[in-house]
């Protein structure tokens, strides 16, 4: 079975007033919609706690999507803070593997997120290898 492996991305954080690196499951994807490809790969957090994919609305606008025409939905996170998002069909490319799926776009959200429905469910197995700091995507 083909497995795509990504080393975790090291992002800056503060711990005890010192700058440290946090190893995070962030993967670069290509995103297209309406036969238009976003010009650059997009680093996305792979989030097993997220039900759905969620992207900043401007990424969708750049793809020519009329964001507010999509199905309206509310995303609720920690602290029960809700944000409005709009669902649109997209195509996601991960290395040489691609699939049609859906992504929600929000004007109130900055971090691109890949969730269980829309991303994880297009793979046979998703492994967060915390020993190797690697994300393994089997398809």
């Amino acid at each position: 079975m083909p497995v795509i492996k990504f080393d975790y991305f090291v992002r800056p954080s503060i711990e005890n007033k010192k700058l440290i690196g946090i190893f995070s499951p962030i993967v670069p994807i290509r995103l297209s919609a309406q036969h238009k490809m976003y010009p650059d790969p997009i680093n996305c957090f792979v989030d097993s706690g997220a039900d759905f994919n969620l992207m900043p609305a401007l990424i969708g606008e750049n793809l020519g999507l009329n964001i507010k025409k999509g199905e309206k939905t509310t995303h609720i996170g920690i602290g029960n803070v809700g944000i409005i998002a709009y669902k649109h069909p997209v195509k996601i490319f991960v290395n040489g593997y691609s699939f049609r799926t859906f992504t929600n776009f929000s004007y109130d959200h900055k971090i691109p997120i890949l969730g269980r429905y829309g991303f994880f469910d297009h793979f046979k197995k998703v492994t967060f290898n915390q020993k190797k700091f690697q994300l393994e995507l089997e398809h």
């Binding site: 503060i14 650059d40 995303h75």
Partner: protein, 70 residues
């Protein structure tokens, strides 16, 4: 946390751009452009005709990430 190949200089550079969008080089150790928001970054990219980067959001560095969106 294990100390697995952390590029401290790059980490410090990224930290300077918390809560911003950056365009990283494909090797991910160089920042090609920065924007406080995505619109600003896209404008800078267009003006400087920068291509071949990876879009990345740098979250605030003094906050833990608990995304869990549903």
């Amino acid at each position: 946390m294990k100390n697995k190949s952390i590029n401290k200089a790059f980490l410090q550079e990224l930290a300077q751009h918390e809560n911003s969008y950056v365009l990283l080089s494909k090797s991910e150790n160089k920042i090609l452009a920065v924007g406080k928001d995505l619109k600003t970054l896209l404008k800078k990219q267009e003006a400087k005709k920068i291509t071949g980067g990876v879009l990345h959001y740098v979250p605030p560095i003094d906050a833990a990430l608990s995304l869990q969106c549903r």
